[in-house]
């Protein structure tokens, strides 16, 4: 590790603190930082202000922090596993699986006349999305047990997700206007629909997912040289794939369940981290991607609040230039 790395990590951490504070201050009502601080520490401030900061903005900012780290780390793992710079958390069909779950709930249930049933309401969109994502990834994981070539798994994952997208479109086509609108809004993503108990669940899933990602640091480093080399250097490929898939389900699957499909963070941030740190070693890249992801998603949230745009359009508009910039500057990418 070079001496400059601790400096970079510290700078990123400070940046996140600043962005986090700004994220609490900025919104439909702008609250001065002093009052934000007072609300958090229980100081003297209007009750309505304290309520906004604590139960709305704080939850949302923590969601941005967790979701950014989760998407970036799962994207990094996918890029290394598939040795493909264009891979991201959604290449194996997680977002398609999640939208399928939500589509079944929002569009399919009314079609079957189950619209208002309390069972479905309590299950919720997050539950439906999570189950959808987990089912798809389990399917891909089972298929991949019999497949040696990682590229075949990538293609299978992409085909699975395209197939499911088609089914989702059929559901959309058959649905009523109202149901369709709630579904389309879900696909635009939102960091603000997470309740406090859900946040606890999200935090636990993300932490476990990140721990798993840290556990596969050495396998991921070996995979940089490709599966053949990795195997001759003692890597258990199947075990590694299982762990990476599980980590990705927990990270990207849970984030998608609670926030909808948030695009481009998982694809762009690992490249940004590689460029900031000039490293290929996952001992650096995993924490670097996590921190960069948090920072970028906080920035996206700020922009989405300032211009009242859905988060997904902001991440796309931010992420695309990053990828273009990286590709342009380096001409080659890892």
């Amino acid at each position: 590790m070079k001496l400059t790395h601790p400096i970079r990590f510290t700078a990123l951490a400070l940046l996140i603190v600043v962005l986090f504070a700004l994220d609490l201050a900025v919104g439909s009502v702008s609250i001065p930082l002093r009052e934000v601080w007072a609300s958090l520490t229980g100081g003297e401030v209007a009750a309505s202000t304290a309520k906004i900061v604590r139960s709305i903005r704080l939850v949302k900012a923590v969601v941005a922090l967790l979701a950014g780290a989760a998407l970036a780390v799962s994207g990094l793992q996918m890029q290394t596993l598939f040795r493909n710079p264009l891979a991201g958390p959604y290449v194996l069909g997680i977002s398609s699986g999640a939208s399928f779950g939500v589509a079944l709930l929002l569009l399919g249930a009314p079609l079957l006349g189950l619209g208002g049933s309390s069972l479905i309401a309590s299950f919720g969109m997050a539950g439906a999305a999570w189950v959808g994502a987990a089912v798809i990834l389990t399917m891909v994981a089972i298929l991949s047990r019999r497949i040696k070539d990682i590229m075949v798994i990538l293609i299978l994952g992409m085909m699975c997700s395209s197939g499911i997208d088609a089914v989702v479109q059929i559901l959309q086509y058959l649905s009523s206007e109202g149901a369709l609108k709630s579904f389309v809004i879900w696909t635009m993503g939102s960091l603000g629909d997470v309740t406090t108990p859900q946040l606890a669940l999200l935090a636990v899933a993300v932490v476990i997912g990140l721990v798993l990602a840290v556990a596969v640091i050495k396998p991921l480093n070996l995979l940089l040289l490709g599966e053949q080399y990795a195997r001759t250097m003692g890597l258990n490929i199947r075990r590694t794939r299982r762990m990476v898939f599980l980590s990705t389900t927990l990270l990207a699957g849970t984030v998608t369940a609670f926030c909808g499909p948030v695009g481009f963070i998982g694809l762009a941030v690992p490249h940004l981290a590689r460029m900031l740190f000039r490293e290929a070693d996952h001992r650096i890249l995993i924490p670097a991607s996590a921190l960069t992801g948090s920072a970028v998603l906080l920035v996206c949230d700020l922009i989405s609040k300032l211009f009242t745009l859905p988060i997904n359009t902001v991440t796309a508009l931010m992420g695309i230039p990053i990828v273009v910039w990286v590709v342009w500057r380096h001409k080659t990418i890892a």
Binding site: N221, L224, Q228, T232, G234, I237, R274, D281, H330, T332
Partner: protein, 237 residues
């Protein structure tokens, strides 16, 4: 030492080797030669434990290779493939350090001894000056030498190389084979490499294994040269 016992190797519709028995000893440099598509790479992949679709046995010492787990195998043999590895931001030293993977802890932490072995391996292949350079800024030949240094850092008694000379110019080809020969003799390693360079095989190796489908002729170099098998297989006068 690698011992083949009645090895039958091939694909569903094509048998490459049939009932082959021979052995590759430590302290010897062996060239594996044969026409294109004769199965040199397939054989090397089987010997490295990457291809388990064969009949008969491949013995590493007393154990069949399919019975060894990945970690044990990685302490017995190292492989250098023809695959071009070019990763941005990955420094030569880090690549060679990956060769220490079988011996490092869960996160790949390097001890002082590991670091010395990495530096030594880079020195042996003449790449010390490049250790801080990244792989995307090196020539094919330089990358090849780094991958060989990685195999050396793995400290295995057996090293398999698939066409290690293919990216190198003439002086470097001889230099590399001299290096492999030195490693085989001085460090008592069993080194087997596939090549299309008949001259190198004839002048620098202790023995030659010639794939003549479905046979594998394995003889000491001098006997192989005198047997006329090479000329017959390659259709030379």
């Amino acid at each position: 030492m690698i011992r083949l016992e009645n090895l039958t190797l091939g694909y569903a519709d094509r048998t490459l080797l049939k009932q082959v028995s021979t052995s590759f000893e430590v302290g010897r440099l062996t060239a594996l030669i044969g026409r294109n598509g004769s199965g040199k790479s397939t054989l090397l992949r089987a010997l490295a434990g990457l291809n388990t679709e064969y009949k008969g046995q491949i013995m590493l010492g007393e154990e069949e290779i399919r019975q060894l787990d990945a970690h044990t195998l990685s302490t017995r043999l190292a492989l250098v493939t023809t695959e071009r590895v070019r990763i941005a931001n990955l420094r030569c030293r880090d690549v060679v350090a990956l060769g220490r993977a079988p011996y490092t802890n869960w996160i790949g932490r390097m001890q002082e001894e590991d670091r010395q072995l990495v530096e030594h391996a880079l020195e042996v292949v003449g790449m010390s000056a490049f250790s801080d350079r990244t792989m995307d800024r090196m020539s094919d030949g330089e990358c090849q030498r780094v991958m060989i240094a990685r195999a050396l850092a793995q400290q295995t008694p057996i090293i398999l190389l698939d066409e290690p000379t293919s990216f190198l110019d003439l002086p470097n080809r001889y230099e590399l084979c001299r290096l492999l020969s030195q490693l085989a003799h001085e460090e008592q390693k069993c080194i087997l490499f596939s090549t299309h360079e008949l001259d190198i095989a004839r002048t620098m190796c202790d023995s030659i294994a010639l794939v003549d489908n479905p046979h594998l002729h394995h003889l000491p170099t001098e006997e192989m040269v005198q047997s006329g098998l090479i000329e017959r297989t390659f259709g030379l006068k």
